[in-house]
């Protein structure tokens, strides 16, 4: 089986997963206490109006009819319109409006984790039981242990009075004058970010604290796993064989150790993507970044059924896609992973 056949097979196999996930979503939304009608009417709505709206929204139809409509809509990517939050706005335009900020946040938090966590972990693994290893490992545990919401609040209050803590260094006026919280100023259209360095730095500075908080747990994780992976690889027999062959230390690390140590890190890195979906709800709320997480939270709180369902569907599709990407990455870096069977 070639790589592309394998890819096609995985895509095909993901359809049942999507079906199942979407069905569960429907069940949870309909069976839960969400009541979009009272959310639209407010607490003092009269029963007459209540029933009218209920009929208009199609909530009086039998559940199986609603289920079929929902599933058909989702799988034809007809994501519908918001009912409560921003009535009559299509879910597509809402997502397009909110997503860039979340993607900007997620991008940097993944990058921070990968470019700080993994190198630190590899460094610690290559110099085990030295002071710098203990320092990095301890730091990794601390980062790992600090919950998102707590770190977010602490970082926010420290940065907003940073001149007191950092000997006159004032974060708010550093480079550009900004508040600590608030959405990052993303230009419209978005690609101006890459042609205009001024815009880029401004948007980066704004997102940095939130990205640091969101990436911190994964950073600690990647550091710890990276360290273990390197230690395990260093002590394996093929490293000794390579040494006996006269391989110099530099290529021992970069050729023989690096790629093998990367294998256990693949699921950790892709797994972060899931954390980002869940974690961004909290962090976006604390830092007041109106992104997808914030939108989802508001939609659930206000009983906006179609918006909640459609966002859930998008999340499910994302998770399934990330999983497929992860498996593809595996086949690229580890030749032992086959395309046949066991899928």
């Amino acid at each position: 089986m070639s790589r592309w056949q394998y890819f096609a097979k995985r895509l095909l196999l993901s359809i049942p997963v999507l079906l199942f996930g979407t069905s569960i979503t429907f069940l949870v939304i309909r069976a839960g206490p969400l009541d979009p009608v009272s959310a639209i009417l407010g607490p003092q709505g009269d029963p007459q109006a209540y029933n009218t709206i209920r009929r208009q929204l199609g909530l009086n139809q039998p559940l199986w009819q609603q289920y079929i409509d929902y599933m058909v809509n989702m799988f034809t990517f007809n994501l519908g319109q918001s009912w409560v939050l921003q009535p009559d706005t299509s879910v597509y335009s809402l997502v397009l409006g909110y997503a860039p900020r979340t993607i900007w946040l997620g991008f940097w938090s993944v990058l921070i984790a990968i470019f700080i966590g993994i190198p630190l972990g590899f460094y610690a693994g290559l110099n085990p039981n030295t002071f710098s290893d203990y320092f990095a490992s301890f730091g990794g545990i601390v980062w790992r242990a600090m919950p998102n919401f707590w770190l977010a609040v602490i970082l926010m209050s420290v940065l907003s009075q940073s001149e007191k803590f950092f000997f006159g260094f004032d974060w708010q006026t550093f480079l550009y004058s900004t508040n600590v919280t608030g959405p990052p100023p993303l230009p419209d259209p978005i690609w101006k970010l890459f042609t205009n360095p001024d815009q880029f730095v401004r948007a980066l500075k704004k997102i940095a604290p939130a990205a640091l908080v969101l990436g911190s747990a994964s950073m600690g994780n990647e550091m710890r796993i990276g360290r273990t992976a390197v230690l395990e690889t260093i002590n394996s027999n093929f490293i000794e064989t390579a040494k006996a062959k006269g391989v110099p230390p530099r290529s021992l690390v970069w050729k023989h150790i690096f790629r093998n140590a990367l294998i256990p890190l693949v699921p950790i890195i892709t797994g972060e993507a899931f954390i980002l979906i869940g974690g961004s709800v909290l962090v976006e709320t604390v830092f007041d970044i109106s992104g997808i997480g914030f939108l989802f939270f508001q939609a659930v709180k206000n009983g906006d059924m179609p918006l909640t369902g459609s966002l859930m569907f998008i999340f499910i599709v994302l998770v399934v896609l990330i999983n497929i990407v992860q498996d593809l990455l595996y086949t690229i870096i580890d030749p032992r992973v086959g395309y046949e069977g066991g899928a």
């Binding site: 394996s236 027999n237 093929f238 000794e240 064989t241 390579a242 040494k243 006996a244 062959k245 006269g246 391989v247 110099p248 050729k255 023989h256 790629r259 093998n260 294998i263 870096i333 580890d334 030749p335 032992r336």
Partner: protein, 360 residues
């Protein structure tokens, strides 16, 4: 008569590898483990020297000491000397050592299943050695890698060269490892239990292969194993190791026919089938002790059936077992056998104090 001739031809050429009083110790927080404690032996070109002993007797550490691969907290102690082709290896810098590893001295490890890097093709790993020591690249290196795989008896080598280690069987992998070791035409091949992890039929094939390669290339082979059958098959000369010391050294036929040290006798007796008349297999009771102090006694004494009082007070030195056999030595107070026991003990004592003086 025949033996005298080989003795004469042995002494004609200078040995390729000369190990003299090699001591390798591991310094841990708890104790100092003297894994290899003052061993000496020679290997000549075209000769296979076997090293046998139980697990923990220091065989592998000996091999790693010669390769310069002893990792911290281990260290080759001062006063040790390893001469390869006239060059002193113990004084070499790490970089000088590296250019020697793989090119002049190569090593084949115990477990072929794990001694190849799983994420690179077999060809890639052979070519790496070629690039490092012979500066071969590209198509030329691929061509050479294919030739090497063919030389170690891997069929369809031009296809195999692009395959990954997991696509090879155990025996094939060991062949590939041997091909890699031979890539730069080494003069000395150190085999650290190369057949232990293989089926007996594959074992025989690998031993045959090593034999052929030795003949073709005039290789010197240091063969480490705990399998007496394998040793009998491959080696010209055998050193028996116990707790970091060489307790007996003899040509292979002599050792098997007439083992002198009680430990060698015990080892040979514990081969299944060697004593067909007895009901139970005879064994050597107990374990190899961990040598953590300089020996002032015989380390085998607690397990020795022939031990006597002096064994726990006098350290036995390697001495010829009798006047006629110059190349059969044993480190046991029972020898030399042509003098009385008291004289023998005194001889060992005197030799021991001489060595201490010369070390100082």
């Amino acid at each position: 008569m025949a033996q005298r001739e080989t003795t004469a031809s042995r002494s004609e050429q200078a040995p390729l590898l000369q190990v003299e009083n090699l001591q390798t110790a591991f310094f841990t927080d708890k104790e100092t483990i003297r894994a290899v404690d003052g061993i000496s032996f020679d290997i000549r070109r075209g000769e296979t020297v076997g090293i046998v002993g139980e697990s923990g007797s220091g065989k592998s550490v000996t091999a790693r000491s010669i390769m310069g691969l002893v990792d911290s907290p281990g260290r080759v102690l001062d006063g040790s000397s390893i001469k390869f082709d006239g060059e002193e290896l113990t004084e070499k810098s790490e970089k000088e050592y590296r250019s020697l590893r793989g090119s002049d001295i190569a090593m084949v490890f115990q477990d072929p299943l794990t001694s190849l890097n799983p994420v690179y093709t077999v060809g890639n790993q052979i070519k790496e050695a070629l690039r490092l020591h012979r500066d071969m690249r590209g198509a030329e290196a691929t061509e050479e890698a294919i030739d090497l795989l063919e030389a170690v008896g891997i069929p369809d080598a031009s296809r195999r060269v692009t395959e990954y280690p997991h696509e090879f069987s155990g025996g094939m992998r060991q062949r590939a490892v041997i091909a890699m070791a031979l890539a730069c035409d080494p003069e000395l091949l150190i085999c650290d239990e190369p057949t232990t992890a293989l089926d007996v039929t594959i074992q025989a094939q690998i031993l045959e292969l090593l034999d052929d390669l030795q003949e073709e290339r005039n290789l010197a082979i240091m063969f480490i194993t705990h399998d007496m059958g394998v040793i009998a098959e491959v080696s010209d000369r055998v050193n028996v190791m116990y707790a970091g010391e060489i307790v007996e050294s003899a040509p292979v036929v002599e050792l098997f026919e007439n083992p002198r040290h009680p430990y060698s006798q015990g080892l040979l007796n514990s081969i299944p089938g060697n004593q067909p008349d007895t009901d139970r297999l005879s064994t050597i009771e107990g374990d190899v002790p961990t040598p953590n102090e300089p020996a002032t006694y015989c380390r085998f004494e607690p397990r020795c059936p022939k031990a006597f009082d002096e064994c726990s007070k006098v350290h036995p030195e390697s001495l010829a077992v009798n006047d006629d056999a110059a190349d059969h030595t044993a480190a046991c107070l029972l020898y030399p056998e042509d003098v009385s026991q008291a004289e023998a003990v005194e001889l060992h004592e005197r030799r021991g104090s001489q060595r201490e003086v010369s070390e100082r």
